[in-house]
């Protein structure tokens, strides 16, 4: 599925302190992504704080985004929820309101078994005909997919891609080989973890599921183009400009930093949902400095 190739840009979902989505601000963010010709938009990902938004607000965000893209850029919508019936309902909502594809994380409270995650995915994937990308993000869901489970899921009709975390040992090439050997032909493999994604693309990853792409789409597209073309020198040069931002992502978590970027660029005054706190003023200054090399 071409929809899961290239730069998938994950914007924040600006909302007020009651969790009501500010659709005008969201529209402004999305317009930047469309103008930069990102390959897809990852709405309501972790960066889009899907876990913190009600079903009704997620509906409003999807409708607003579908109206904004008008079908020009594929819309991937996160449909994760703790309960299987809720995730199924969110998947149906997403299909009804204009999503082109789904992204599903195995959100957990009680730690889940492999069989539980398998059944959960089959239920959600079977709820619509949209292609579905497995969201493997142990840092937030506390569930790590084994290659065997990915393989099992990859045989389901419309489960067509996986969004991987960077491997702990840093060796994306080996990770891609291991996954490629196990997964069916045509099953796409992308990475998140912005600081390692250029290397992942150089190693042959199909997609970059990107936080920075959702807020700084032009620089992220520049990096994507050279990395996807296999130009190691240009990739290294452009990636170096992002380094101060990667350092902040690693220190504070990309979510807090990307809100500070959105604030610094006057794109929205929105803040992350409490309990998540905005960065301190001195760290906001570091964000502004980090942006200087990129704008």
């Amino acid at each position: 599925m071409a929809i899961f190739r290239g730069l998938s840009a994950f914007p924040i979902t600006p909302a007020d302190h009651n969790g009501r989505v500010e659709t005008d601000a969201l529209g402004n963010l999305l317009t930047r992504l469309i103008d930069a010709s990102v390959q897809s938009i990852g709405l309501l990902g972790s960066t889009g704080t899907y876990a913190y938004l009600s079903r009704a607000e997620r509906e409003r965000a999807i409708k607003s985004a579908a109206e904004c893209t008008g079908g020009d850029v594929p819309l991937i919508v996160g449909v994760g929820a703790l309960r299987t019936d809720e995730a199924v309902a969110l998947a149906k909502d997403a299909a009804r309101f204009g999503a082109d594809a789904l992204l599903l994380a195995p959100v957990s409270y009680t730690p889940l078994t492999e069989e539980e995650v398998y059944q959960h995915y089959r239920a959600v994937a079977g709820a619509t005909e949209l292609p579905l990308c497995i969201y493997n993000n142990p840092g937030t869901t506390h569930f790590g997919f084994s290659v065997a489970l990915l393989e099992r899921l990859a045989w389901a009709t419309n489960i067509t891609a996986v969004k991987m975390p960077l491997p702990a040992d840093g060796d994306v090439s080996a990770d891609l080989r291991r996954l490629g050997d196990a997964l069916p032909d045509g099953f796409l493999i992308g990475y998140s973890g912005d600081w390692g994604s250029a290397a992942a693309m150089l190693s042959g990853a199909d997609a970059w599921f990107s936080v920075v792409g959702g807020i700084l789409p032009e620089p992220a597209m520049n990096l994507t183009r050279v990395a996807m073309a296999g130009d190691a020198d240009a990739t290294k040069r452009i990636d170096a400009r992002f380094q101060p931002l990667w350092d902040l992502f690693k220190q504070f978590g990309s979510l807090r930093v990307v809100y500070a970027v959105a604030n610094a660029l006057s794109l929205t005054p929105a803040q992350p949902p409490r309990p998540i706190l905005p960065l301190d003023v001195k760290d906001q200054d570091r964000v502004v400095t980090a942006l200087e090399g990129l704008l």
Copy 2:
């Protein structure tokens, strides 16, 4: 606060597959706890699947429980939620509908900082006048409290107790000394992790926050009485009867096992919320065998 002393029994919250609480079945479970004279009831804890129930269903469960206890047994109500405003609303609901105390876990999706957790607790504790117990359960929330953070929170007016996980090194005595040295006089320290709680009570813990207490209150009260009285021999003897059940708790997670116990005792046919799956039939048989030494 005496409310956080002794056996705090955490029942499941029977619900149908749509997440609608079955208040009659809940009432039957609670009556068993009252009849066994447990020191408190921990409604809507992790075992009570609070994370999987809507605000409306949590309201129904609290109202039903308050009616059932009639004030005879203190009712501690879990009010955890990902969003601070939701946890505040749940705390106010709990106070309005009959809770005697609150239990708050730092539920997370985006990993939280200490300051974020601090602010979250202050907001929820400040929302009502009920005493609040910190629910330190890194296995589900993926946030572990430092002693320094517990100390900071313990100075808030109505934060009066902590529910601790068993220490990784197994040395509850050392854990209790370290906490006792740091925390204010009168701040109560209890443990969950049923298989280590008898040892914790022998070491001087104030409370046992118990999964098994919510489904087998008589045997759990027997264990509590001898352990709290410091009778090491009797504690060892009674704890040994639970060993087959502890083994199952450790292997499958206590939640899945306790549903199988409830089913085996014909207390309710309810199953855990999907994606959580019931035990296989052969493992259900092991549960029945484990019960033989206890009934």
